[in-house]
């Protein structure tokens, strides 16, 4: 074939590259790879369904945990009929309130992690690494020492209003987020500045926390340490409802922006070229993910690693397409936390180890294992 150009004629046998109509959608003709792709997307849907089933199995198994022996068939019956009389009351008001707390905290921290990792273009971004947890711990200690608040509702040394601790923890997490955003605004809204600001803020709050522990009396110190271990035993229906409301609205926004996040996966400039307001999405995503994790952490205490483990396992299984990554991370975050809490209730039975300790102990090695599996030779 001869390619005619304004600058002369050149012979070429690249018939293939003659150019094509980019507006032609090949209507009518079968496009093989499009059909393959549709099948592939269906397969991902199926995997999600499978993960949901595993979650339900985990819920049922976890509902067996407790001093009273209740048979599996009874548990399933109580769960399906929402029966909360008698034994049903034990299942729902003692065990399920905790399990649902685990589901909400696990999915919330995981979805916050997914979005932070995407918008900050950093695989280590999570509510924990960006200082939201240490700010919450600082806020809680502040309340315990200076506002004379108890560490939690279940605390034996609880003095005035126990919610003061939670509210103070929440406000300080927001303060940390605000500081990160302000630092970012002062420089430029890039992913690196946000991550660096987060790490700096985190270190400052950690130092502040140490200082306050130094000031604290023995009983205050005990309270602070008790608070710091994330504990799902604190779960109540009213707090679960509040967390659920925040989780639902934030997740809905994240899911709505899934294609924007997909575009950001291809790089900042490419995303902008595709019409995405990257700066705006970065700030909004950061604020929403922080509020969500702050609500969870300030109530339950620090639960490390879920924001890393959930998203990374999900990414390994299903890839970075946020249409699937967001829902799968939510499901996996819930599963991981239910399992971790189950382990904490069983290993030293009858005493219960707070889930925060379990996730910290198991999370690190598990994360290293993932790292080696993914990047190792």
């Amino acid at each position: 074939m001869v390619i005619r150009t304004k600058n002369g004629d050149i012979s070429s046998d690249h018939d293939k590259w003659e150019g094509f109509d980019i507006y032609d959608d090949g209507d009518g003709e079968a496009i093989h790879n499009s059909s393959l792709y549709r099948g592939y997307v269906r397969k991902k849907g199926l995997m999600m369904f499978l993960a949901l089933i595993i979650l339900f199995v985990c819920i049922i198994i976890a509902a067996h945990n407790g001093p009273l022996n209740i048979s599996s068939s009874d548990i399933i019956r109580y769960l399906l009929t929402f029966d909360n009389d008698g034994m049903g009351g034990v299942i729902w008001n003692i065990r399920m309130v905790r399990i649902i707390g685990a589901i909400l905290a696990g999915s919330g921290l995981a979805v916050a992690g997914v979005v932070m990792q995407c918008i900050l273009r950093n695989p280590l971004a999570s509510p924990y690494t960006l200082g939201i947890s240490s700010a919450a711990a600082f806020g809680a200690s502040f309340a315990i020492i200076f506002l004379n608040a108890g560490s939690s509702i279940t605390s034996t040394v609880s003095i005035s209003n126990p919610y003061v601790t939670t509210i103070s923890a929440f406000l300080f997490s927001l303060l940390a987020t605000g500081a990160i955003l302000l630092l970012t605004k002062l420089t430029r809204v890039s992913s690196e500045t946000m991550v660096l600001a987060g790490v700096a803020i985190s270190a400052m709050f950690a130092a502040g926390l140490s200082f306050m522990q130094y000031l604290a009396t023995d009983s205050q110190l005990g309270n602070i340490i008790m608070w710091t271990f994330g504990d799902l035993g604190k779960a109540t229906w009213s707090w679960n409802t509040l967390i659920m409301a925040v989780l639902l609205s934030v997740t809905l926004y994240f899911y709505y922006k899934r294609w924007d996040y997909n575009a950001m996966e291809a790089g900042e400039e490419t995303a902008k070229g595709l019409g995405v307001h990257t700066e705006r999405e970065r700030i909004l995503g950061m604020v929403l993910a922080s509020v969500l994790s702050a609500v969870i952490v300030s109530f339950f205490g620090i639960i490390a690693f879920i924001g890393l483990l959930g998203p990374h396992i999900a990414r390994m299984i299903i890839g970075s397409d946020h249409r699937h990554l967001i829902p799968l991370s939510i499901i996996l975050g819930a599963i991981i936390l239910i399992v971790a809490d189950g382990v904490g209730q069983v290993i030293l039975y009858p005493s219960v180890i707070p889930v925060g300790i379990i996730t910290s102990m198991l999370g690190g090695p598990l994360f290293i294992y993932l790292l080696i599996r993914r990047y190792g030779r």
Partner: protein, 251 residues
């Protein structure tokens, strides 16, 4: 009416002026190559054109409408951009190409979007890679994926920042042929930066030579002269014609 017009664009990073009074126009069906040394402002110019960077001064008109008054998304419908550095994430090739439909759909990709992406992937010979993750393909293959994405975007002007980077010889020529023939066939324009002068000369209709953040010369291949090359790149070169096409041979 000119198809695409860049008027007096100026841009500074902090206090250093990078672009100074850049003015040029291009027509549809044309491929334009921006030539100039490293750091002269080629990438910056491309980013100013589609508002990835906001120019301090000047305007960009496409078919008479001011681009900088459009929303980001409308700009994306008009201008496609293949960046010099794209990130390779854990998304499939198919999804990465499908992403080009982003400015065109509201809530979710449609069946037509999937057909469009599938067709371009096929025509670019990427079928075998379609369901592979882009972080598991080669750099050159990803370059082709990025070009497929911008074609699926159906812009009126395609900006390509060093599109032949990391491509082998046949693929370099394939992409250059493809871009030119796509431009002609679809009545759109392409603007690219490219460091391989001979490749640029062979496959472009028009050249913009940049020096010190501004345009030194524009025109067809008649501006490819030893004097201009000396002025812009600060090296001496012969320019010989082979089959009517200038070939630059640095001394």
């Amino acid at each position: 009416m000119t198809f695409f017009q860049v008027n007096g664009v100026e841009f500074s990073y902090k206090s250093t002026k990078v672009l100074d009074d850049v003015t040029f126009s291009i027509e549809k069906n044309e491929v334009t190559s921006i030539l100039g040394p490293n750091g002269v402002g080629k990438t910056t110019l491309m980013k100013c054109i589609n508002k990835i960077l906001m120019p301090d001064m000047g305007s960009v008109l496409i078919e008479g409408s001011e681009l900088h008054e459009m929303s980001r998304r409308d700009i994306a419908k008009n201008i496609g951009y293949v960046s010099q550095r794209g990130e390779m994430s854990r998304m499939t090739v198919f999804d990465s190409v499908l992403l080009g439909r982003k400015p065109h759909f509201e809530w979710e990709v449609t069946d037509r979007d999937i057909r469009l992406a599938g067709r371009v992937i096929h025509l670019m010979g990427l079928d075998d890679l379609a369901l592979k993750y882009v972080n598991e393909i080669s750099g050159g293959e990803y370059q082709l994926v990025q070009i497929a994405r911008v074609l699926v975007q159906q812009p009126k002007v395609i900006l390509l920042d060093e599109p032949t980077n990391s491509l082998d010889l046949p693929n370099q020529h394939m992409i250059m042929h493809l871009i030119r023939n796509i431009a002609i066939r679809n009545h759109i324009a392409a603007i690219m930066t490219i460091h391989d002068l001979n490749l640029a000369i062979r496959h472009s209709d028009k050249f913009i030579m940049m020096r010190e953040g501004t345009i030194y010369a524009t025109g067809d291949h008649s501006i490819i002269t030893p004097q201009n090359i000396r002025a812009v790149f600060n090296i001496d070169a012969f320019v010989e014609k082979v089959k009517g096409i200038p070939v630059v041979i640095p001394i």
